[in-house]
Amino acid sequence: MKCTRCREKAVVQLRHHHSNFCRECFLLFFERQVERGIHKERMFTEEEPILVAVSGGKDSLALWDVLVRLGYRTTGLHLALGIGEYSADSTRKTEEFARARDLPLVVIRLEDEGAAVPELAAVTRRPACAACGTAKRHHFDRIAIERGFPVLATGHNLDDEAARLLGNVLHWQTRHLAKQSPVLQPTHARFVRKVKPLFRVTEYESAIYAFLRGIDYVVEECPNSVGATQLVYKEVLNRLEDASPGTKLTFLQEFLRSGRPAFAEPEGERNSGTCSRCGMPAYGETCSYCALLASAERRRARDAGDDDTEEREAAFGGRQRE
């Protein structure tokens, strides 16, 4: 199989682009795809400092790598989620990536901020992913605002966006459909612009890029992702893609071009106040994240109180029987 561009031996085949590439030509292709998406969607300029959310996985590290190579000013933001060995490995690989390239990296440990994901998840009746998402969104915006970044970039790829779109369509989540976009403009003074520069590239292409660049990323999946609905959607879309290459890209791109306008909501004011604990936007007294932390604190206090009660009974129980 020969490279479509230079006729050397190809190492990757991209059916949805009717192309095969050698290593060098694929890397160039990938960078151009990302750059085209950034310019077409006006995500950011070369003058703006970009905060890049990096988990240690292939997509976020590939994103950070390509943004640096394209000449953008970046700082990484890593949240240490406290999910056992998986999180420890993620943090280690992110720190190694940044150190090897002499890139600035901010690391926030959730347990230092009040509670790690397992504890936050324990106080909700929902899957851990809900608590994890709330914590991530809170700290992404908070750090971006506090450190003066106008834009936050995440490593969401075409497969992520197509799976999210499929879920939104299957459940006719019209509000979400109105807002699904590779660029989210802030709706509050303490929110920043959020962009997804990898939205045009598949997970496969992102993995190939990371591999060919020699990026040591976390291969293991988050233990909380087992059985996740998004994985089912991805499987369905990959079967469609296998039967008809280009399905995922068409699904997303045509939605952005023709489908989303049909769901657009009139601009109206949703009155949001300020969280009394942290100052971030909130629709009640506290924001969702601070409400989670408060629940975790109450549970800790209750558990500590139960321990005291058991100790007292153990100390006095014998005397009472006397």
Binding site: M1, C129, E203
Partner: protein
């Protein structure tokens, strides 16, 4: 050939030689969902693997 599946860290031995395309089909895997790696090199669907090869089949799908 010995095949290691990641992230599952499962290993199997498969006899004979065949094209990667046929290997993936036999394993029930779609080509756009995994990287096939031999000696740190990417294999395409047209490449032939087998014999004493140590192959890594690495999933590219992330859960979230």
């Amino acid at each position: 050939m010995q095949i290691t599946f990641l992230p599952q860290r499962r290993q199997v031995e498969i006899p004979g030689r065949r094209r990667v395309r046929d290997l993936l089909k036999d394993l029930g895997l779609l080509s756009g969902t995994v990287m096939v790696i031999r000696n740190d090199e990417l294999m395409t669907e047209e490449d032939v693997v087998g014999g004493d090869d140590a192959i890594e089949i690495r999933s590219v799908i992330s859960g979230g």
